[in-house]
């Protein structure tokens, strides 16, 4: 077992937020029974949505592939239980843009019959990395930390000379959320073996498991598991609890003391970050043959009767999950999918639990948001920004729609953590403004690219038309010269011939 260390890089800014996790970690993980109905969105991952491979009315089994990956960055979706596909339709979901998304709706038969489990690949040490990548690709495994980037693609992109460390991210810095904490406490072995699989697939021999120091139970469980497997490639690293140190680039900065460059990936400083949940999912798929069809979610907040962590099938609606734990309290007012800082408020509990759902937060009242006042340029936001931006300046340029300046001041580096919102004494919704500005920037970029293409096409057409005109005039000139050279008699003859042709044609017409 390795001694926990506190030897870390520094992170600018950040906030010490109230933790609020005690209630949900008081109970062990409860298993939500298979619901009557499962709603499985086709896009539960970053990249192209999967395309359905089942038809309406078809019977499906637990673990059966129902939508396959489409394109290079995509992930398949599996049925979470057995039943009948009743619809493939728009359904309310929780996502950044838009309210609805295409989903496969399955009416469960309650039997929970499974397809024959996919052949587990044991021992995984004897497999080639490529076999493992392909296997992971088909397991529908995506990054469970929140960004839901397809894991197989992330691994394949990272297999370069540059790669030095694998970082298993167990940092859960947002208030309320405790699903990774509970996973580490109860399934530490799976995480450790998952990490071993990833190390083998990446041909690496160094891995940090990063955990906040205020999770002693999780650290203990991981340490016990490590003692058991006797693997000295894996080291536990403790970090202090400061929001947002659990974000990918921030973890890398803390652990390796290297800053991920602007617009770059952790790979640029030799790191690959995977969430603890992802590692456990990899273990389940490789060693047990179970695709990603369930996950642990924290259901918490003062709007639910009994806050706890539950293991639920992907596709269970939030209503079913909340019912299972005893329903809402009378005070429940607001439903947030995700944490209080980066989550999204939704208007209905019909939304399904998806691969990305790490928290279902029900609050008794909307956090008081003061009325927005003008920016007084106090600079508090710049002090807490973990990526060293100047939010007050960005806000200025976002209002003025000054794209060049926004770019120069690094808007694209904003990780949308929400720290600046929280400290702003004028209650300016900075993160929301930045999100809009980013969207606008992307739109402008698209428009520019489009205009550029139109310009090129127009110019090449102009050149072509000119060339054709030149060619025609040259041909005409040549013909004229030929005739002129032949002399007046020849011209007379041609004229006569054309006259007679005209006459004969007009006679024919008559």
């Amino acid at each position: 077992m390795s001694a926990p260390t506190f030897d870390l890089g520094t992170l600018h800014g950040g906030l010490r937020l109230p933790i609020l996790k005690d209630e949900s970690t008081a109970r062990v993980i409860q298993h939500v029974p298979v619901p009557m109905q499962l709603v499985l969105p086709l896009a539960q991952h970053a990249g192209e949505p999967a395309h359905p491979v089942v038809t309406i009315g078809e019977r499906v089994l637990k673990g059966q592939l129902i939508a396959d990956a489409d394109g290079t960055i995509s992930a398949p979706v599996h049925a979470s239980s057995s039943g009948k596909v009743v619809a493939i339709e728009q359904w309310p979901v929780s996502r950044r843009l838009g309210e609805n998304a295409p989903c496969i709706v399955i009416e469960c038969d309650g039997l929970d019959n499974a397809v024959p489990l996919s052949e587990p690949i044991v021992p995984f040490e004897q497999q080639s990395p490529d076999t493992l990548f392909q296997k992971i690709l088909h397991g529908g495994i995506v990054g469970l930390g929140g960004a839901v980037f397809p894991t197989a693609q992330k691994l394949m992109e990272a297999t370069t000379e540059l790669l030095e460390h694998l970082i298993i991210n167990g940092v859960e810095c947002e208030p309320y959320i405790s699903c990774d904490d509970m996973l580490m406490r109860e399934h530490a072995m799976e995480i450790v073996v998952g990490a071993q699989i990833l190390l083998h697939a990446l041909q690496l021999d160094h891995c940090y498991v990063v955990v906040e120091s205020d999770k002693p139970e999780a650290i203990h469980a991981l340490a016990d598991a490590l003692t058991e497997v006797q693997d000295d490639r894996i080291v536990i690293k403790q970090i202090p609890t400061i929001y947002p140190s659990g974000a990918e680039d921030q973890v890398v900065q803390l652990v390796t003391r290297k800053e991920v460059p602007t617009g770059g990936l952790p790979l640029d400083v030799g790191c690959l970050v995977q969430n603890v949940g992802t590692a456990a999912a990899v273990y389940d798929w490789i060693c047990k043959g179970e695709p990603l069809i369930s996950r642990i979610t924290t259901v918490t907040g003062d709007g639910v009767a009994a806050p706890m962590n539950v293991m639920a099938r992907i596709g269970t609606t939030v209503a079913d999950v909340v019912n299972f734990i005893g329903g809402y309290t009378e005070r429940a007012k607001q439903l947030i999918i995700g944490g209080p800082m980066t989550g999204k408020s939704v208007s209905t509990d019909r939304v399904p639990l998806v691969k990305a759902t790490n928290c279902i937060l029900v609050l008794s009242e909307t956090p008081p948001i003061g009325t927005e006042k003008p920016c007084i340029r106090c600079g508090d936001c710049a002090q807490v920004c973990p990526v060293l931006l100047l939010p007050q300046q960005l806000f200025w340029y976002a209002c003025a729609d000054n794209e060049a300046k926004l770019r120069a001041f690094g808007l694209t580096d904003c990780i949308e953590c929400g720290c600046c919102d929280l400290v702003c004494p004028s209650h300016i919704p900075l993160t929301a403004d930045f999100r809009i500005a980013k969207l606008r920037m992307r739109e402008l970029e698209d428009e520019k690219a489009r205009a550029e293409r139109a310009r090129e096409r127009f110019e090449s057409r102009t050149v072509r038309l000119e060339r054709e005109k030149l060619l025609r005039s040259k041909e005409l000139l040549e013909q004229k010269q030929k005739v002129r050279k032949a002399g007046p008699e020849a011209i007379q003859e041609i004229l006569e011939r054309s006259m007679s042709k005209d006459n004969s044609e007009s006679e024919k017409d008559e």
Binding site: R450, A454, R461
Partner: protein, 164 residues
């Protein structure tokens, strides 16, 4: 002291002569400016400004001092950007009837199309494909929605639709 005065005067004289020669004889770098102006235009090539395309209009703005408020699809935004680039005053758009075409594309009704190729030769960005007596179709990704293909169509089979 006199030496210094004479030297400085001589240097100033030589530099002045050089500069005046350069400004008279060397060609002005207008093309660069035309390209810059052209870069600010929306490239719909719709010819609503009265010039056969965006670049010709840009050239007219730079060389002939034509007003900068003729680009309807570009709207007020383009006028503002042009004004700040050229150091001119912001003027209101020529008419308010202009519309943003970037979100519309032409669509050919395949049933009605007779394959006359008139629209193909009218399209400023070569976004219509087809051959004589064969059905034509629009490359939606390349179409700028300029509506120049509408007028020449003898059977009115082209519609302008919202881009998907």
């Amino acid at each position: 002291m006199w030496i210094a005065v004479v030297t400085i005067t001589a240097i100033a004289l030589v530099a002045g002569l050089l500069l005046s020669f350069a400004s008279r004889r060397l060609p002005p770098n207008d093309d660069n400016l035309v390209s810059k102006v052209n870069g600010l235009l929306p490239q719909t090539q719709c010819a609503q400004c009265g010039y056969p395309g965006c670049r010709p209009y840009a050239a007219a703005v730079v060389h002939d001092g034509v007003e900068i408020n003729l680009c309807l699809p570009g709207g007020e935004d383009t006028v503002r950007r042009l004004a700040s680039l050229l150091g001119r005053d912001i003027v209101p758009l020529e008419t308010s009837a202009g519309k943003n075409m970037s979100d519309s594309v032409a669509f050919i009704n395949e049933v009605l199309c007779i394959g006359c190729t008139h629209c193909i030769s009218a399209c400023p960005v070569d976004a219509i494909v087809g051959a004589h007596q064969f059905m034509h179709t629009v490359l939606a990704a390349e179409c700028t929605g300029c509506e120049l293909c509408l007028a020449p169509c003898p059977v009115d089979c082209i519609q302008i639709r919202l881009a998907a």
